[in-house]
Subunit: 162 residues, 2 copies
């Protein structure tokens, strides 16, 4: 990409994503324990599995982009909210670490990740972000159906616990 065509920098993209990830984390936190692993609408996956997918994509994808070592996609399934949140926080640190190692000139490079998805580096990261928004939005419906007020979509700060 040439001078003057930059929409945003890698650092800005990472900060934006981590803001959205803070919001996803708050949805996990606020989700009633009794429903996090079981509640479903229309036979969809419970929110613990949707959040597990976010974890299974973000840091592993960034690691693979840096290392070039293909690792098949593997779902992550926690067994408790505490475990899910702890793994989420590890993933936050891993994503920061690996994302920072992607040279800026590689964002336009076309590569295959998880052994089967081919696209530019930026499009892989965008897929991860779009997919997280998609599934977090679904979590909002679960929460509303359960009578729980979700966090405001526009708030991107760390959770109250952080």
């Amino acid at each position: 990409m040439s001078t003057g065509t930059a929409v945003l920098s890698p650092t800005e993209l990472l900060e934006h994503w981590q803001g959205l990830r803070n919001l996803s984390r708050r949805v996990i936190e606020i989700f009633p324990d009794a429903h996090l692993f079981t509640y479903s609408i229309g036979n969809m996956r419970p929110f613990a599995l949707l959040a597990g997918e976010m974890i299974a994509i973000a840091a592993p994808m960034a690691r693979e982009i840096v290392s070039g070592q293909s690792v098949p996609y593997a779902d992550y399934e926690a067994t408790s909210k505490a475990e899910l949140l702890a793994r989420w926080d590890e993933a936050t640190a891993e994503l920061n670490e690996w994302f920072a190692k992607v040279p800026p000139e590689r964002f336009g490079e076309t590569i295959t990740v998880f052994g089967q998805y081919t696209g530019t580096v930026w499009s892989h990261f965008f897929y991860a972000i779009d997919n997280e928004n998609h599934h977090r939005g679904q979590g909002y419906v679960y929460l509303r159906a359960l009578g729980v007020e979700p966090p405001p979509f526009w708030e991107r700060g760390a959770s109250s616990a952080a």
Copy 2:
């Protein structure tokens, strides 16, 4: 933004967004007419209003970024699926037109849109995209709850009708 820090170009961002908008359009198309304006879970808005919000943000935001003329945010409410789809397609053309007029060097500029939201130009566009993914994902839950299979999330081409 300096050379070498470009994640993607404005043209790539627009194409990515329009791919996501194709997907949103397909959700409108496939939504059962009897439920598009009425079906709700957890007292949330029906999908016609969520799609109306997408329309009320995308092209008006791009127009305001180009013109500098502040116009308050105004919800869009269609009265039929046909009207909603026709307005969607007008918005697609308007977004292409206005987005192309944003000079690349303005993406990092901090501005206020709709008279109250302040951030960089890129962050405004990202908000629109993130918000659309969020609400379209909610539409997927409505469809699943209604027993309708939504379009695959990873498909971004125009609808079968186009």
